[in-house]
């Protein structure tokens, strides 16, 4: 797709009269192709018109930029002609004079006669020849809008920008004008961006509909491609079999945004109503944080050992666990305030997977990415199993299923392993027997022959390899490089009532993550983690050397696995959440949520992440809103998750259903009131 105009990471901040700031748009990335018709849709106040003004160059972005034809947009110009919401015709000029003003100014080099002809052509194009000598005040709203469109088209802009062009018109006039606009755009092939709040209008006219989330800090929530054939015709479009699916997608998005807004309002009311703790030099908030030992928790260890979490705000109380199940129970019961969990846990808690009731989990940050490896008992190496293909061959001839251990069903390692096996033609449901084990017990189970192999963090795998028991068949780099592995999870109400403490904790973990990622700190990190309080002396082999695959091969990259900070690693990414949801549906654990936008927006708290990054003094960077590819080559587009899901091998038929979302616990539970 050749981009005519590229919106690159645009954020727009307006100063408020009181001295504050209003962040209208946040991290907008969008590429619009030549000849494309794109609509911007969203609730009022979501920054649609702000974005249009940025495209026009009428305002300049606070950060980020807009590139048109390879040049940055810095000022308004006739190559991006705007049709304003209230037409903006000059009332003291006739229709013809209004159009001529544009033509005479922009196309100065044309001879007078040609300019005149251009004016007349465009008058004819919108069917206003008869009204050419009348003044705007003598015209109806629809006619004025046509004049505004004629004026815009007369100067042949590269990009036509329409700001709710038909909002003020009656239904009949609107329908006619939409039809006319569509014909004109098809004839001229002009690239168009239109702001609208009319779902049918967006579908009729657009190639893509960009849906914006609620402001402030509006982002692109979803992009819907409208594959209806052109040339379009209103009635034919409405009868198209895809039409109502697309329409309900748009309406669903808007409804979910409305509910999210209501929820936010309810929360801020609850916060206002909650008893205010005496605000005198408050004692630091104690935060009980649960974790399972592993290299993943390096940021926690560093943050505590080096005092990176502001001691005036938070006292961090780490609580180690041996099994995920116990940790989750304590988190839900309120015995833990936050936990470092698998990346899938916030969603599985929010959905209530495994017959639990939905729990309002949120995640403000990703703690680590990568760091997993699959190892098999050495006997498999002797059988010649060296990669996915040979494993598939062996599994297919072997009578009994492969026995693989995971720490818990539904955690990230489980999803990765299943995805990888399925991509090699191994049905994870039939050809594998899954055993849920504490990571600490996996090596013993391998020795006893209870399992053939396990997927775990590099620390555990390295130990098994070191002990001569196992070899590495695959690392997560061969499944999904830079997948989210551990995230911070807490309840929505904890995030609401202890926001500052949570942000301080996140900021500390973020700074610690940055420290961990620095290769120069490797020795210090090893020493630190080798303390008995954390991983003990066994941490050294995992960190200090190159990763030993146990096959004679060695990984070339010392820093192969865990990623704590670099490359925007700490962002909670809704797109990754959407992928996790496809996998939950794929393995039949839940239906695919029709209200996923709402669910993801509730769980993935970018606002908290940004505030924490800011508190930590780190740049607020965001993953680009683009499809990402897994190692099997399948590209995942968060805007078309069902299409992705349908193409996956061994996927259970997707059941799309609106899932009940956890009730917001508006009043703080006893354990969180201090």
């Amino acid at each position: 797709m050749k981009g005519l105009i590229t919106v690159d990471d645009v954020t727009q901040v307006f100063p408020l009269p009181g001295g504050g700031q209003y962040v209208a748009l946040k991290d907008i990335d969008l590429t619009i192709a030549e000849g494309e018709f794109v609509s911007l849709i969203g609730h009022s106040g979501c920054g649609k018109s702000t974005l249009l003004n940025l495209l026009a160059g009428l305002t300049t972005a606070s950060s980020g930029g807009i590139i048109l034809d390879g040049r940055e947009v810095t000022a308004p110009g006739p190559d991006r002609m705007v049709v304003f919401q209230n037409y903006s015709l000059l009332p003291w000029q006739t229709v013809r004079q209004n159009i001529n003003l544009a033509v005479a100014n922009v196309l100065r080099e044309l001879p007078q006669a040609e300019r005149q002809q251009r004016v007349e052509e465009n008058l004819a194009l919108v069917g206003l020849k008869a009204a050419a000598d009348r003044y705007p005040s003598e015209l109806s709203g629809g006619m004025r809008q046509r004049v505004a469109i004629a004026r815009a088209l007369s100067i042949q802009p590269r990009l036509l920008l329409l700001d709710e062009p038909f909002g003020a018109l009656d239904a009949l006039t609107r329908g006619n004008l939409q039809q006319q606009l569509m014909q004109i755009c098809q004839q001229t092939g002009i690239t168009t961006v239109m702001v609208t709040h009319d779902v049918d209008e967006a579908l009729l006219l657009s190639d893509r509909v960009v849906m914006l989330t609620n402001g402030p800090e509006a982002r692109i929530g979803q992009i819907l491609t409208v594959p209806l054939p052109r040339p379009r015709e209103r009635l034919a479009v409405m009868e198209h079999p895809d039409y109502y699916g697309l329409r309900s997608e748009l309406i669903g998005f808007l409804q979910q945004q409305r509910r999210l807004r209501q929820r936010q309002q309810a929360q801020s009311q609850a916060l206002a109503a909650a008893p205010v703790a005496p605000s005198a030099p408050a004692a630091p908030t104690p935060i009980r944080i649960g974790y399972l030992p592993g290299l993943d928790i390096a940021p926690l260890a560093v943050a505590i050992e080096q005092g990176l979490v502001d001691p005036a705000a938070v006292t961090v109380l780490p609580v180690p666990f041996a099994r995920w199940q116990q940790l989750e129970e304590k988190l839900v019961s309120g015995d833990l305030d936050v936990a470092i969990t698998s990346a899938t846990t916030p969603l599985s808690l929010a959905l209530g997977l495994g017959d639990r009731s939905p729990w309002p989990a949120v995640t403000p940050m990703t703690v680590t990415r990568n760091g997993n490896a699959l190892c098999l008992a050495r006997s498999w190496l002797e059988l010649g199993v060296r990669d996915l293909a040979t494993l598939a061959t062996h599994v297919s001839v072997q009578e009994k299923p492969l026995k693989l251990a995971i720490a818990e069903q539904g955690i990230m390692q489980d999803l990765l392993l299943r995805h990888w096996l399925a991509s090699g033609g191994i049905d994870p449901e039939r050809a594998v027997t899954w055993v849920a084990l504490s990571p600490m017990a996996m090596q013993a189970a391998l020795v006893s022959g209870e399992i053939d192999g396990f997927i775990a963090g590099r620390y555990r795998v390295a130990k098994a390899v070191d002990d001569g028991l196992a070899y590495v068949l695959a690392t997560d780099r061969e499944i999904w490089a830079r997948h989210p592995e551990k995230v911070l999870t807490c309840s929505e109400s904890f995030a609401l009532h202890h926001r500052q403490a949570l942000l301080s904790l996140c900021a500390g973990l973020m700074r610690a993550g940055q420290w961990c990622d620095d290769g120069a700190h490797r020795q210090a990190l090893t020493t630190l983690l080798s303390q008995p309080r954390w991983l003990g002396p066994a941490a050294a082999p995992a960190l200090q050397r190159q990763f030993d695959f146990g096959t004679g091969e060695r990984s070339s990259d010392l820093m192969l696995l865990n990623r704590y900070h670099a490359d925007r690693a700490q962002s909670p990414d809704q797109a990754e959440g959407a992928w996790i949801l496809t996998q939950f549906s794929r393995w039949g654990w839940s239906s695919f949520p029709a209200n996923r936008v709402e669910l993801l927006a509730q769980v993935y708290r970018l606002d908290l992440c940004d505030a924490a990054l800011d508190l930590a003094g780190l740049p607020v960077l965001r993953p680009e809103r683009q499809p990402f590819a897994l190692a099997d080559g399948g590209s995942f587009d968060q805007d078309a998750p069902l299409r992705y899901l349908e193409a996956l091998p061994f996927a259970a038929p997707a059941v799309v259903a609106s899932v009940p979302l956890p009730e917001s616990t508006a009043t703080p539970s006893l354990s969180t009131v201090r």
Binding site: P78, L90, A104, V106, P136, S137, E138, I155
Partner: protein, 280 residues
């Protein structure tokens, strides 16, 4: 400002009927009220026949030559009312034109330049409240000549509303029009001609209309103090003469001054309406 109400209540009634209705609505009330006022005045003046003349007396005493021969000229300062008014109007024309030209130019500059606006605003706010006659001594000292001094007083009185309104008009140009200009990248000249001037015109004419009233106010006062000829001089002259008909002459002159002021106001109003258009 406008007291005339357009006959907007034109309904299904016959034309004759509606015309009679309009007549009754518009002509009748002022005729009755003014008639009653004159009557009251006449009655009050009758109580004290020595002092203040009633309306009938005023007309009788000024009928010849002031009412029927407005343009008589016996040389010197003994001239008809029409000529006196004409002399005053000439002065106003010169002073007011100067005020209009300089006021609009200054208003443009101040409206377009934020620095100038902030810089001059306090000065303008102070000077515009100075009463016209306070300027007279300074202008006499400066210009040494009664005629020029009167013109200067008119200028300095009339210029402020024009400056202020023009500047406000420029700042109040709707964002829509400025956006159009920015998107089309209008050249300076085109911006001035096609957007700035037409959009500001209503404000400018509001200023001009306020100013013409002030100018007329100032000229009468200035002429009373220091001038030869002009309607203000006529009033002061009649007072100094102290003859039998002096009071009547003064009253007649006041009525004429009022009428001319009204006509000037309406004239500027009509021109403004024509220029800035009833099209919006």
């Amino acid at each position: 400002m406008t007291t005339a109400v357009a006959p907007s209540s034109r309904s299904r009634r016959s034309r004759g009927q509606s015309r009679r209705l309009a007549l009754r609505r518009q002509i009748l009330p002022p005729v009755v009220c003014i008639g009653l006022t004159l009557l009251l005045w006449q009655l009050l003046s009758g109580l004290n026949s020595e002092g203040f003349p009633g309306p009938i007396q005023v007309i009788a005493q000024t009928w010849d030559p002031y009412i029927i021969k407005p343009f008589y000229d016996e040389g010197g300062t003994s001239k008809g009312l029409g000529i006196q008014i004409f002399i005053s109007l000439q002065r106003v024309a010169v002073g007011y034109s100067l005020a209009a030209v300089i006021g609009i130019a200054a208003g443009l500059a101040i409206g377009l330049n934020d620095f100038l606006r902030r810089g001059f605003d306090p000065l303008i706010q102070v000077l515009r409240t100075v009463p016209p006659l306070a300027w007279l001594p300074i202008s006499l000292l400066l210009l040494q000549q009664a005629d020029s001094a009167a013109i200067f007083v008119i200028f300095i009185t009339a210029v402020w509303p024009i400056v202020i309104n023009t500047a406000v008009g420029i700042r109040e140009i709707p964002q829509d029009y400025t956006n159009v200009a920015r998107v089309l990248r209008l050249r300076k000249r085109s911006y001035l001609r096609d957007i700035l001037l037409p959009a500001t015109a209503p404000y400018v004419f509001t200023g001009l209309r306020i100013s013409v009233g002030l100018a007329w106010l100032a000229i009468v006062a200035a002429e009373m103090l220091k001038a030869d000829g002009g309607i203000g001089f006529f009033i002061w002259d009649a007072y100094n003469a102290g003859g039998d008909s002096s009071t009547s002459q003064i009253i007649l002159a006041i009525v004429v001054v009022g009428l001319v002021g009204l006509i000037l106001d309406r004239l500027v109003g009509v021109v403004g309406e024509r220029v800035s258009g009833g099209r919006r």
